[in-house]
Amino acid sequence: MKIGLVIVFALVAGLSTPVPLAAHHTASTLYTQKLVTVKGVVKAWLWSNPHCLLTFDVKGEDGQVVLWRAETQAPNTAYTEGYRANSFKPGD
């Protein structure tokens, strides 16, 4: 498994996590203060409204690969944080 990327978002939400996670406009609801750093391999980068999504595989200590999706703001806000439509590509 290739590990080539360190992703740091103000909010990272994992589909595999057992707790409920807010989605659309999450910045106003849950986990606004929680910073999570995850290393993984990019599967897809959706530069789109209403919010951008980064999909990536994360290999755990037990060797299992877990699919994660991280939500950012809309492109016009993500742009001001330095993200671009080509910031990630599959395999990164």
């Binding site: 939400a13 589909l15 409920p20 996670l21 807010a22 989605a23 659309h24 406009h25 910045a27 106003s28 609801t29 959706l46 789109s48 409204n49 209403p50 919010h51 999504l53 999909t55 999706r69 939500e71 809309a74 492109p75 016009n76 806000t77 742009y79 001001t80």
Partner: protein, 294 residues
């Protein structure tokens, strides 16, 4: 009512003629698509032009959240605090409780929302004033046109002295004795109070089944009256105030915003934000539905 239609009617020369930020062809470039001018030093401030709102207006430096208003209107965020409770009528409270917003004190998971915005319905007025602002203003001797960044919508404010239409019970307005239908942006007329202050009134907006006041599900009805004041504080600063009166929904009028905006680089080819049903579907399929347990 998309941007492109409007641009066919209004030449961009209007704005270039009145803003010193415009550049000659030899220095033409593509500025950043999200305008963010820095603060202007006191010594560099200039007086406002007379009776002009022309320009591209955006957030003050470091205050982008104020133009987003995603957690409720600027002066009354929906955060559960007592000072931000609204003077609902019983009907207004019933309406509010029927709304399932994605944001605010009563937010629900994405799959449970009934926010019209998520279906890409037009926000209408005044909700367009309360979400993801960035506006471009053009004007001529008859009217002011406001182009909203979110979903590329536009609105006309008539400044040629015509009267405000009469609001009709049940929605819509009466003009010259004839009934006119409710509209997403209503019917707006503006009057210059002085050389730097425009007072705008709007009636005839869409009924409560079609529109919300803000992202947090606050309601409005077809009896809404909107009063806006645009004050040009100096060349680079516009203050935009709004008060609403809606006796069906609120027991008294109240102020929603008093928002300072900064003049931005008029050359900006702004990054737009369309609401695309297929993009919303893709988002919900990948993220919104799973986190809702759907």
């Amino acid at each position: 009512m998309r941007f492109s239609s409007w641009l066919g009617l209004v030449g961009s020369a209007l704005i270039f003629a009145q803003t010193p930020l415009a550049q000659s062809g030899s220095t033409a470039t593509w500025p950043e698509p999200v305008p963010a001018r820095r603060a202007i030093a006191e010594k560099d401030k200039k007086p406002a032009p007379r009776r002009s709102l022309v320009g591209m207006w955006g957030a003050m430096p470091g205050n982008r959240q104020a133009t987003n208003q995603s957690s409720g209107v600027q002066l009354k965020p929906n955060n559960g605090k007592p000072e931000n409770q609204l003077p609902y009528t019983s009907y207004g409270l019933e309406l509010y409780k029927s709304h399932k917003p994605l944001e605010g004190a009563d937010a629900v998971p994405p799959a449970a929302t009934n926010d019209p915005r998520v279906r890409c319905e037009p926000l209408g007025l005044p909700r367009h004033n309360h979400y993801d602002l960035g506006i471009q203003i053009f004007q001529d001797e008859y009217k002011i046109a406001m182009l909203y960044q979110y979903d590329n919508q536009w609105r006309i404010i008539w400044t040629d002295g015509r009267p405000l239409p009469k609001l009709v019970d049940g929605g819509g307005v009466e003009i010259n004795g004839q009934y006119r239908e409710p509209r997403w942006f209503g019917y707006s007329v503006g009057t210059w109070v002085d050389d730097y202050t425009l007072d705008v009134q709007t009636v005839g907006t869409m009924p409560e089944q079609r529109v919300w006041l803000d992202n947090t599900g606050r309601p409005i009805s077809d009896q809404l009256r909107i009063r806006e004041t645009f004050r040009r504080l100096d060349f680079d600063t516009l203050e935009w105030s709004e008060t609403i009166e809606d006796p069906k929904v609120y027991s008294r009028s109240w102020q929603t915003m008093k928002l300072p905006l900064m003049l931005q680089d008029p050359r900006t080819d702004v990054m737009t934000r369309y609401c695309s049903p297929s993009e919303v579907d893709a988002y919900n399929k990948a993220y919104g539905d799973p986190v809702s347990g759907k």
